[in-house]
């Protein structure tokens, strides 16, 4: 990929957020909050850190990415389109009958999507399988899995969290988009995750903690995570749900609701 500067990446992330708003608004349904909170992380991965080739989505040596929080599909689709995996015109077909851009990610239909997700808590396990395959094939690709904080309520996440260090999977990095909100409310009220970092440490992960909207911190943490040997790393990225749109920020209502026409206009203006 091109050698983007931090300010370039900030501009790209803002553009991707605009796509997310337009896509979900056009679809009339979707999950803006979790797409906006993950925008900077995904920008850094696809435009700076990951080894991938939009002209060859199935390139065997590519880094793998699993969007375990599958409801954030719009931000991944916007990213893949901007990278050149498919035409930008596809974006406004989101969720419509006949589209390649399903409500939640579908690896059968969308070029560049490595795993079907949408039922929460499963992506880390799939990422572990990809990391094990790399080890068997003696390939040096890295596997990234982006989890939501709410989905860490699922028991399977912790089955996977136990497995990866047991197999010393240092070619696997988990990133938690820790935006503190799930569908029914704040995570601290719905199902308290704390002490969250201690939990991952207790499961033998290398834990890195960052501001998930600080591009430099995100680049540095992903770089460091890749360099750790003998165990997997998890990056706990503190984020703001709905980041970038004033009335969506920290607002549980925009977990899974599309903005109306006037809200869309305001949002796009704020992100311009």
């Amino acid at each position: 990929m091109a050698n983007y500067s931090i300010s370039d990446l900030e501009i790209i992330a803002r553009k991707l957020r605009r796509h997310v708003i337009t896509m979900i608004s056009t679809a009339g349904s979707g999950h803006p909050g979790g797409s906006l909170s993950a925008a900077d992380i995904i920008t850094v991965l696809y435009f700076k850190m990951m080894k991938h080739d939009p002209r060859d989505p199935k390139w065997p040596d590519r880094d793998r990415f699993v969007l375990s929080k599958g409801h954030a599909a719009p931000i991944l689709y916007a990213t893949l389109a901007e990278c050149g995996y498919f035409p930008l015109e596809w974006l406004t077909t989101l969720r419509k009958a006949g589209t390649c851009l399903q409500g939640h990610t579908d690896s059968n239909l969308t070029p560049g999507v490595d795993a079907s997700t949408g039922s929460l808590g499963q992506g880390l396990s799939v990422g572990i399988g990809m990391a094990l395959a790399a080890r068997l094939d003696e390939k040096d690709y890295h596997t990234y899995v982006l989890l939501g904080d709410g989905e860490c309520d699922e028991g399977q996440v912790w089955e996977a969290a136990m497995f990866a260090p047991n197999y010393k999977l240092d070619n696997l990095t988990a990133i938690v988009d820790f935006n503190k909100i799930q569908l029914d409310g704040f995570t601290r009220d719905i199902m308290n995750l704390e002490p969250f970092i201690d939990k991952w440490r207790a499961f033998n992960w290398e834990v890195l903690e960052i501001d998930g909207h600080d591009i430099k911190q995100t680049i540095d943490a992903i770089g460091k995570a890749r360099s750790i040997r003998g165990k997997p790393a998890v990056i706990i990225a503190h984020t703001i749900k709905g980041k970038g749109v004033s009335f969506m920020e920290n607002n549980v209502d925009f977990h899974g609701k599309a903005p109306n026409k006037s809200e869309t206009e305001i949002a796009l203006k704020e992100l311009s």
């Binding site: 499963q122 799939v126 990422g127 399988g129 996977a160």
Partner: protein, 317 residues
């Protein structure tokens, strides 16, 4: 040369899987702390680098198997049938069935012939659940010899498989070898009065029933329907056309298993009298395998009575 005939189906599975592993380096195996029961232990011993012990965590195991398959591996996953079906159904649906991943779920200890462990360990819903999943092939081999052929076929055929094996030693039917074809029922015996369609452990009992009935002059066709999905519709329709009455027998709930599949085909194409033997909407209890089969009407004698029953309902042309 391995003599599979003397083995349980799961023992034959463990042995053939290890042989296949020698030929194909892409085969990987996952187990959830049951490798000494599912017999994946042989593969683990021979290929420790390609065997992944997942601990007692079936949901995670399925996701990992799918991730490996997404990167070109052929994942064989084993646990008990009751856990393979119930414990990780959503993971199988999302990560294996939907993407059509190359994951072969070989579940042992299927059905009530698990015996003494009781209802918690007796998978009686697994075939209904797996047959409900798009993209899946679902197979119940009749003996150890067929198991070997089924496993070989699954390793060579891309896409998701569910293969159900039992716990106990069962009679060998294919003493002279077996040519398994995915999606094809095997006609083990021909006759014109009625057809017995059976799967798994019930196939041997169907043959026994057919030879007993022959003594009374009743000639039965016997079909081993080891592949439940995709079902061999042609064989079912031909059986109805040629014999005019059908009995099904399976070690599974009557809902959603072999009986349901056969009835659905017949209703659409060639309605004839049918009697279905299976477990009737209840959980079973601890006991010896044969005692349990008797309690639930799954003996060769029960099949004979069912054949006599459908014959009385048969419309004579």
């Amino acid at each position: 040369m391995i003599d599979f005939a003397e083995m349980t189906s799961r023992e034959a599975y463990g042995r053939i899987l290890t042989e296949l592993g020698k030929e194909n380096p892409d085969i990987v195996v996952l187990d959830a702390d049951l490798s000494r029961s599912t017999m994946t232990k042989y593969f683990a011993r021979q290929f420790p680098g390609r065997f992944f012990e997942c601990g007692i965590a079936e949901q995670n195991m399925i996701g990992i198997a799918a991730g490996l398959a997404h990167c070109g591996k052929i994942s064989f996953v084993s646990t008990f049938a009751v856990f393979a079906a119930g414990r990780c159904f959503d993971q199988v649906r999302m990560c294996v069935a939907q993407p059509g991943a190359d994951v072969k779920i070989v579940a042992t200890h299927g059905g009530i012939t698990v015996g003494e462990d009781g209802s918690s360990h007796q998978a009686i819903e697994d075939l209904a659940l797996y047959c409900s999943l798009p993209n899946f092939s679902v197979i119940v081999p009749a003996d150890a010899i067929e198991t070997v052929e089924v496993i070989k076929s699954a390793a060579l055929t891309s896409g998701p498989f569910y293969i159900r094996l039992g716990r106990s030693k069962t009679p060998v039917i294919y003493t002279n070898g077996c040519t398994f074809k995915l999606g094809k029922a095997d006609k083990l015996k021909d006759g014109s009065d009625a057809t017995i369609i059976a799967t798994g452990v019930m196939v041997a009992k169907a043959l026994e029933a057919a030879s007993n009935l022959e003594k009374s002059g009743i000639r039965c066709r016997v079909l081993n329907m080891s592949t439940l999905k995709p079902a061999d519709q042609q064989a079912i329709i031909a059986a109805a056309a040629d014999t005019g009455a059908i009995v099904t027998a399976e070690e599974h709930l009557l809902h959603g298993g072999l009986g349901s599949i056969v009835a659905q085909v017949l209703v659409a194409h060639r309605p004839v009298p049918v009697a279905s033997l299976g477990i009737n909407d209840m959980y079973c209890r601890s006991g010896k395998p044969d005692e349990l089969l008797e309690m639930h009407g799954l003996t060769s004698r029960d099949i004979e009575l069912a054949v006599r029953d459908v014959l009385t309902r048969k419309t004579h042309v």
